[in-house]
């Protein structure tokens, strides 16, 4: 599955948030979106997910225009992983994951045994099967995030959009969640995620989309496009990039 974005523009009233944004993402690819707060990452995601209507431009999934897809059809090809949150009611992890299958069952029917199996599989893939009967409110932040990822898998969409999936997680959980996500992209999912940590882009991204002032500042492999100058212009802090003995690039802030 391939997602194509062409000349996307979006405004909130007078304020232009996105202007002429173009990129694509292919199956098995992990695309990281970098950019300062308020640059329009969430707006971009909302446009991709059909939650916001772009002012101009085109978004297509496998050549099919997004606007021609209904809510259910769209959910069958694209899933969303929000930041982990506290819902009003405490559902079991299994129920939470099972909700992802809703797009697969039509009309007014409820998920059946086939959907229950795909929820099981999704929990298995993410490695949270042992949490199935626990309450979503009683598990840790990292486990919640994995639950939401399993939910997206149960949806069986081939594109998964993640809004800062590691925000609010501790250092270990951030890496564990991202490693799991990386494996999923290796298995053929298209993953588009936003992140605030340049190191995460170096470690996990196949390509990076950098947004600045609503425009594409850079698009390409992290080693090629994520430069010292780019990070400094995105975030307004001075950094140095160093390469360790394994060839991994590491970003270190310069404190003055």
């Amino acid at each position: 599955m391939k997602i194509d974005v062409r000349d996307l523009s979006f405004s909130y009233g007078e304020r232009r948030v996105l202007e002429g944004v173009s990129f694509d993402a292919r199956a098995g690819e992990m695309l990281c979106v970098l950019g300062p707060n308020g640059v329009g990452k969430s707006t971009l995601f909302n446009c991709l997910l059909g939650l916001a209507r772009p002012e101009a431009g085109e978004i297509s999934i496998d050549g099919q225009d997004l606007r021609s897809l209904g809510v259910r059809e769209l959910a069958q090809s694209m899933a969303f992983v929000p930041q982990s949150h506290a819902p009003t009611f405490n559902y079991s992890v299994f129920d939470m994951v099972l909700m992802g299958t809703t797009a697969r069952v039509g009309g007014v029917s409820s998920p059946g045994s086939r959907e229950a199996r795909s929820a099981e599989d999704a929990m298995e893939r993410v490695g949270i099967s042992s949490l199935r009967s626990r309450g979503y409110m009683q598990i840790s932040g990292g486990e919640r995030q994995l639950t939401l990822i399993a939910r997206a898998l149960a949806q069986q969409a081939s594109v998964v959009i993640m809004d800062e999936p590691t925000a609010n997680l501790d250092y270990g959980n951030q890496l564990r969640v991202l490693m799991r996500v990386k494996e999923l992209s290796r298995e053929g999912l298209t993953i588009i995620q936003s992140t605030h940590n340049p190191d995460h882009a170096f470690l996990f991204a196949d390509r990076v989309l950098a947004l600045l002032d609503g425009r594409v500042a850079a698009l390409g492999a992290p080693r090629e496009v994520v430069t010292q100058a780019l990070i400094e212009s995105l975030y307004g802090v001075r950094v140095t990039l160093s390469t360790d003995e394994n060839g991994t690039i590491c970003c270190r802030p310069q404190l003055t």
Partner: protein
């Protein structure tokens, strides 16, 4: 090792089935006990005999006399009259109203993402009260009181929806705020009607109506409300899985393939319909829609697929029991609305303080 084919999921479903069966059994038992209690007790045997006679009578009328109607010696004519004109409608209505108020409460809690939502959150009860008060003031008779209450309740919610549509801001908050405003207006109207009502006969009747009671239930009232109740309950049951997704954020539900706006409106309309129907025949009966779903959440969990049917049975059972207390505890009837509050409020306090768990 777990036995093959028994996952915790199966176990939970088994537990749910068991709870539903127990609740259903208790409702049936409660119905039988309700007939046996009261100034004219009717034993289960007499009840069955009278029901069989009635069935044969209907069958005989339908087949033009091919089936002969019988009359059991167990039951006197007076008993028959009490059974079919007084006891049966009342027992049925207690079950129906309890079932509907619980279902509406549970549904509202889901669509408004608020565990404290009750069936009257949007002003369905305030609207019904204003309508009923108006009909009583105009001395239109009990049938029109019911019709006025039902219509006023629906008009109130329609008004809430229209106001909330034109207001700005968060959609859910807008609906709730509009509900508060409109029901406050209705309360003002009710107060005004009470002010101008004749204090000797009209005012007490209005006050008594507002306390909530099933004492004057007539067969035709049951027939009147059963239509809107069915029209509301059936879609709610069909949509109950999707109510789960409405308790998450709108964007999440949408990206999971749920048409949030349409499902939410459908559930609100259904819940309003059954609330309006209940209130129009029973007056204001509080707490049922809050206490019963919360108790049932403890039993079967928050998944609406299990919660809604179990709440409906639980509500029927609860109101049936309370109604029996209301008509048998003292020589004169205690309005059921007073009892549900007396039971409901302390029970709810116990419920929320019992365990350190988020509600």
């Amino acid at each position: 090792m777990r036995r093959l084919g028994t996952t915790p999921e199966d176990e939970r479903r088994g537990l749910y089935t068991l709870i539903v069966l127990i609740l259903a059994g208790l409702v049936v038992a409660g119905v039988l006990v309700s007939f046996a209690l009261g100034r004219y007790p009717i034993s289960p045997r007499q009840l069955l005999a009278a029901l069989r006679d009635k069935a044969l009578e209907l069958l005989s009328a339908l087949t033009g006399g091919a089936v002969t109607a019988t009359k059991s010696d167990l039951v006197t004519d007076q008993m028959r009259s009490i059974l079919f004109n007084v006891r049966l409608p009342r027992v049925l209505l207690a079950c129906l109203v309890g079932c509907c108020l619980s279902a509406a409460g549970a549904s509202y809690q889901g669509v408004f993402q608020n565990p404290m939502a009750a069936p009257d959150i949007l002003g369905a009860s305030s609207g019904a009260a204003a309508g009923a008060a108006l009909a009583i003031l105009l001395e239109l008779g009990s049938r029109m009181v019911m019709v006025f209450a039902f219509a006023a309740s629906l008009i109130t919610i329609a008004l809430v929806m229209i106001v909330s549509r034109t207001a700005r801001g968060n959609r859910l908050l807008r609906i709730i705020l509009a509900g508060i405003m409109v029901s406050s207006l209705c309360n003002a109207l009710t107060s005004f009607i009470k002010l101008v009502a004749d204090p000797n006969n009209i005012l007490p009747e209005i006050t008594y109506w507002m306390m909530g009671s099933l004492a004057k239930t007539k067969p035709r009232e049951v027939l009147f409300v059963i239509v809107p109740m069915t029209l509301g309950i059936v879609p709610m049951l069909l949509l109950r899985w999707r109510i789960n997704l409405l308790t998450l954020s709108d964007s999440e539900a949408k990206t999971m393939g749920v048409n949030v706006g349409a499902v939410r409106i459908a559930v609100i309309i259904c819940a309003t319909l059954v609330t309006a129907a209940s209130v129009s025949v029973s007056g204001l009966i509080g707490w049922v829609g809050l206490v019963v779903p919360h108790l049932v959440r403890r039993l079967v969990g928050n998944n609406y697929r299990h919660l809604l049917p179990a709440s409906m049975l639980g509500g029927a059972l609860f109101l049936l029991i309370v109604d029996n207390v209301s008509r048998n505890l003292l020589l004169t009837e205690i309005p059921i609305g007073i009892l549900t509050s007396v039971i409901g409020a302390p029970f709810f306090i116990w419920l929320i303080t019992r365990r350190k768990e988020t509600i």
